[in-house]
């Protein structure tokens, strides 16, 4: 607010706004409800102190507490949080969200407690999957983003734990690809929210985690799959390939039906999803593709170039800058991959440093030009 006051005064002094407009803006801003980080901070410190105290008391006496008492205490706390959330569910605010988030996270603690009391062996994904299923209705009630972001993070991570631990009828390639498809489905849910009613906080979490996994995970996986394809291949993972393509196409369709997107944005988004799907599945189907390490690096650059284009078209400056930094860093990595041995010598270090400075300068200049070019096409 103080920063805004200073900016407004600077604009008034520069003749951009009148004194009357300055007052109107100040009155308008003062009347807006504040999402105060200060209040959140104080609430957070208080809640952390209470929880830490409770954990300390319980941990110090854990062995003395009987099994029945532990389970009864868990259900009492879970029920109390649920009751107070039910009482406040129609009163938006911090208290409602703290009760909701506490209820959701406590379910995971309950699953862990039952596993411990009954000596159940688990690879981890079973418990997380149960938590995801039991808390989805609560997550859909969230108005703030914390619980949905934690839940979708769990949704992205759980299939990877499953892919690592599960040794059933599916090949490793199938398991990895099925796990890769989950964030793409999450992104599709996030995209579809513009067309059908999906709670805003949940849709936002799906979109951020889903597209984040598509860009970061997809680019990395495509790069590795091309470079190390033979090691990942095993039996042709047709089931996994089919599921990845099904998820990617559903995401493309979601992007097509989502209202408010320009043709250029839809095109860039569709191209990004299809390039990631192709990059992750094609190398697992081919036998000894030529120059696969170079193709892998180029695929990485292509994915992040499309991500940068999408960010430019959507005017997401931070994502655009992040994308261009990733591209620049990949160029530096390519240099070290090719001329890595040079870095061991003094001359090699000078050349390497010059390359890094050169890439940074080119990135800086290209970034501004690219943004202008994108704006012209928006």
């Amino acid at each position: 607010m103080v920063r805004l006051e200073k900016r407004l005064e600077a604009w008034r002094d520069a003749g951009l706004i009148s004194g009357e407009q300055l007052q109107q803006i100040q009155q308008f801003e003062a009347s807006q409800p504040r999402n105060s980080w200060g209040v959140w901070g104080v609430l957070g410190i208080g809640a952390t102190a209470v929880i830490t105290g409770l954990v300390s008391v319980v941990a110090a006496n854990w062995e003395a507490i009987g099994v029945t008492a532990k389970l009864a205490a868990y259900f009492a706390v879970q029920g109390t949080l649920g009751f107070f959330f039910y009482r406040r569910h129609d009163k938006p605010g911090h208290v409602r969200e703290v009760l909701l988030t506490g209820s959701g996270l406590l379910v995971l603690a309950g699953i862990g407690l039952i596993g411990q009391v009954y000596h159940l062996r688990s690879d981890g994904w079973q418990g997380l999957l149960l938590w995801l299923a039991l808390t989805l209705p609560l997550v859909l009630l969230a108005e703030h983003r914390l619980l949905p972001f934690i839940w979708v993070a769990g949704l992205v991570v759980t299939p990877w734990i499953w892919a690592e631990a599960f040794r059933g009828a599916l090949s490793e390639g199938d398991r990895i690809l099925i796990a890769s498809a989950v964030p793409v489905v999450a992104a599709a849910v996030g995209l579809i929210s513009g067309k059908w009613t999906v709670p805003q906080a949940f849709a936002s979490a799906c979109l951020v985690w889903g597209m984040g996994a598509v860009c970061f995970g997809g680019a990395l996986f495509a790069n590795i799959a091309w470079a190390e394809g033979a090691g990942l291949r095993g039996a042709a993972p047709w089931l996994g390939v089919g599921i990845v393509w099904l998820a990617s196409l559903s995401c493309v369709i979601a992007a097509r039906v989502r209202p408010g997107l320009s043709g250029a944005v839809r095109g860039a988004l569709s191209a990004l999803l299809l390039v990631v799907a192709l990059g992750c599945t094609l190398p697992l189907m081919l036998t000894n593709p030529p120059h696969s390490d170079i193709v892998g690096a180029l695929w990485f650059l292509l994915i992040w170039s499309l991500a940068a284009a999408l960010a430019g078209l959507l005017d997401l400056k931070r994502l655009f800058d992040l994308s261009s930094v990733v591209i620049a860093l990949r160029f530096v990595v390519i240099y070290f991959e090719v001329f890595g041995s040079l870095a061991a010598t003094g001359l090699g270090l000078i050349v390497s440093g010059a390359v890094i400075i050169g890439v940074a300068l080119v990135w800086h200049r290209m970034r501004a030009r690219l943004r202008l070019w994108m704006e012209a096409r928006r």
């Binding site: 569910h89 309950g110 039952i114």
Partner: protein, 176 residues
Amino acid sequence: MKARWVLASVLLPIVVLAGWIVRLETARNAGREVVLAVQAHDPRDLLAGHYLQYAVDYGATPCDGAIATSAANVCVCLDDAVPPQASRANWAGACSLRPNDCETFIEGRCEYSRFVAGIERFYIPEAYAPKLTQVPAHSTVKVRVAGDGSALVNAFLVEGIPLNEYVANPSTRSPK
């Protein structure tokens, strides 16, 4: 409508977890109780976190041969040994081939040629950790085996003595 949805969302985890406990308690008290010998799963690391990780000694290797890499569920039929005598396997193989006279059996799967049935873990208090740096000799687990092949660990015994008593006084020996 909204209030009902909220109520259902709040009650769902409570009801499901309570139902799970009822099911586990039922399994704990039903079925046949057997004692199984155990040995260290990894001799260097008996203790993982706050639980004992071990391999059950069935007196046979259920995951021998082609079944080790197949996706089929594996069943181990147990003999009629009466506790405290440890039960041994008298048949092991794909569950679809289980003999008709195999009444007490444990169902599991093969992981890296090791038979896993979900009974290979026993949670212990943190204070026990320093006293359990190696597998105590003659360790067994008391397991409830249900008619459908599921099993639940009820106790960890060392020479027939419950683990907490053994840790409290390691020199204690049960009468032979």
